[in-house]
Structure formats: structure tokens, C-alpha cells
């Protein structure tokens, strides 16, 4: 495994195969902390109609940042991404479909005798 020297002081210097420097990772962590703070802010401040979308967007952005940088997927071979993203996408799509079916597509009138449901 190759070496990243601390003396690269550029912060977010992205080396092709080697990810970020330590300082770069610290900056990423700070970014994540800020995003988390904004998320928590929704508890204290009324975002109104923006609350749920903001939380979801922040969640996705944090998720993406940890995967790409901390888990190195951005710099690694695509095969790893395919393996993981397939599972992730399947998970989201299948369970979104299940939720839709269970919550939004139920027959509001119920299954009376003689009615197909």
C-alpha cells in the first residue's frame, strides 16, 4: 500500500490512487460535522415545508461523502462501486416499491365480498 506524506500541505490534494492527505480527511470530517449540525438545526428551528427534503438531502450528501472519501470508493476500482451500489440501489428501489404498495396503493374501500382486491 502506498504512502501519502504529510508534507503535502495542500489540504485537499487528491492523489490519483491514494485519496486525500490526512489534512484533507480532517477537512472532510469538519464538513460532515457542519452538515450534521444543520440536520440537528431542523429540530430547533422550523424549516416548514423544507424540513423533510433538507433532511433527506443532507442525509444523502453525508452518505455520499463518507462512501466516496472515507471508504475510498472515488479513488478505487469501479468494481467495488458496482458491488456496493448494486446492493444499495436494489435496497432502495425494492423497499420503496414495498412501501408504496403498503402505504399508498392499498384499496381504500377495503375488500368487500364480491369486490376484487
Amino acid at each position: 500500500m502506498d504512502v501519502i506524506t504529510d508534507s503535502h500541505v495542500e489540504g485537499n490534494v487528491e492523489h490519483e490512487d491514494h485519496g486525500l492527505s490526512d489534512l484533507g480527511y480532517i477537512k472532510i470530517a469538519l464538513l460532515l460535522a457542519v452538515l450534521t449540525a444543520i440536520e440537528v438545526l431542523t429540530y430547533f428551528v422550523d424549516f416548514g415545508v423544507l424540513e423533510v427534503p433538507s433532511l433527506l438531502i443532507l442525509m444523502v450528501v453525508k452518505f455520499q461523502i463518507v462512501i466516496s472519501y472515507f471508504m475510498h470508493l472515488k479513488f478505487d476500482n469501479k468494481i467495488f462501486s458496482y458491488l456496493f451500489i448494486t446492493g444499495l440501489v436494489l435496497a432502495v428501489v425494492v423497499f420503496a416499491a414495498m412501501a408504496t404498495s403498503l402505504v399508498f396503493w392499498t384499496d381504500p374501500a377495503g375488500c368487500d365480498a364480491g369486490r376484487f382486491c
Partner: protein, 222 residues
């Protein structure tokens, strides 16, 4: 109709018996044939496993989302959501997030051969994870004292199952980190096997991103 060709099975022309179909090649000079993609088997295993784990947590999260507000004639007690202490859980979440940072630093340090520093970061990560777990335990015992146990109602069963699964994942991660620390101390893992640390790191980060989802979807979204 086109005439069909017979395959000349019986009229073998040059049957060459001295040559093997697959004889020695320069690939046999390797003790070990190079891996097809050049990627590590172990790392690929961990990514495949994490892909699978996405479905595990998706099922649990969906189950929770479906059941969290459901009531029936026997329902008693509050839902889990009514008892959340968001400030407290925010601190816990922050702790876990930072543990991901310390984990990355452990990986980069062993990549540079800085064994002692790696050990330090590993222990820090494990400690932060333990703090997170302690926070969970505190939170859950608090709920229990307020009348929300595992069996209280359907919402509580779902909540504790989801967070419990996550907590067990974290706990196993902590044990792995401590074991890793110990093996590095004993010299079984050096800089040349730094990938081991990276692979454990992947697991740890995954546990963190699951919590990112749980924190948003279970705690924050009303």
C-alpha cells in the same frame, strides 16, 4: 434447402498427440497466477458483504417506518419517537461520525508504516465507538424507565430491533478494532498487511453510514 454440413468427426486430419491443449506458459512462472482484476480478494469480499448488508438494514428500516405509528386495540404506551432526546442523540451521532475520521487516520498511518500512530487511532476509534454504544445503552434504559420496552408495543419492538441490530454491528466492530490493535502490537500485522486495517475500516464506515440514515430517517424526520 441448403445442404447441411456434416462435421468431419471421422476424418481427423492432423491429430496432434504431442502437444497439450494447455501446456506450460509464462503464467506458470508465477507461484500464484495473478488475480484477474488485480484487486484484492479480501477487499472485494468486504464490499460484496457490505452490499448485502444494505439490504439487511433496508428491510429493518422499512419495517420500522411501516410500524412506527401503527396502533391496534391492544396498543399501550407511547411510540419510540415520542421519547426521543434529539440533542443527546445528536451528540452520539457526532461521536460516531468522528470515529470514522479516526478510522481513516488509522488506515493512512499504517499505510505510511507508522505502526504506533495507527494503534493509537484504532484505539481512539474503538473508544469513540464504545462511547456511542454507551450513549445507546443510556438512551434505551431511559426509554425503558419511561415505560417503553422491547415488548411494549409494535413501534418499540421495531425501534429496538433496528437500533439493536446497528448496535450489535458497532459492538462487533469495536471487538474487531481491539483485536486488530492487539495483533498489530504483537507484530502479526505490519505495514505490508495494511490492507487488513483498510478492510476493517470499510466495515466501520459502513456502520457509520447506516447510522447517518437511521439518524435522519428515524430520529429527525417527523
Amino acid at each position: 434447402m441448403k445442404a447441411r454440413r456434416r462435421l468431419p468427426l471421422d476424418n481427423a486430419t492432423e491429430v496432434n498427440t504431442s502437444q497439450l491443449a494447455y501446456g506450460p506458459t509464462e503464467w506458470d512462472d508465477y507461484d500464484v497466477p495473478p488475480l484477474t482484476t488485480g484487486l484484492s480478494n479480501e477487499k472485494m469480499t468486504m464490499w460484496a458483504f457490505l452490499g448485502s448488508d444494505c439490504l439487511l438494514f433496508a428491510s429493518l428500516i422499512s419495517t420500522y417506518l411501516l410500524l412506527r405509528n401503527r396502533v391496534g386495540p391492544d396498543t399501550d404506551g407511547s411510540t419510540a419517537a415520542e421519547l426521543f432526546d434529539i440533542p443527546f442523540t445528536s451528540v452520539s451521532s457526532f461521536v460516531l461520525l468522528m470515529s470514522s475520521l479516526t478510522m481513516v487516520l488509522a488506515v493512512t498511518s499504517i499505510g505510511r508504516g507508522e505502526i504506533e500512530r495507527c494503534k493509537m487511532w484504532l484505539l481512539t476509534t474503538a473508544t469513540l465507538g464504545a462511547v456511542f454504544i454507551a450513549g445507546q445503552v443510556y438512551e434505551f434504559t431511559g426509554f425503558y424507565r419511561e415505560g417503553l420496552g422491547f415488548t411494549t408495543n409494535i413501534s418499540s419492538s421495531a425501534f429496538f430491533t433496528l437500533t439493536g441490530f446497528h448496535g450489535v454491528h458497532v459492538s462487533l466492530g469495536i471487538v474487531m478494532l481491539v483485536t486488530l490493535w492487539s495483533l498489530i502490537s504483537r507484530g502479526n500485522i505490519g505495514a505490508e498487511r495494511a490492507e487488513t486495517v483498510e478492510i476493517i475500516g470499510l466495515y466501520w464506515h459502513f456502520v457509520d453510514i447506516v447510522w447517518i440514515v437511521i439518524f435522519a430517517v428515524v430520529y429527525l424526520i417527523p
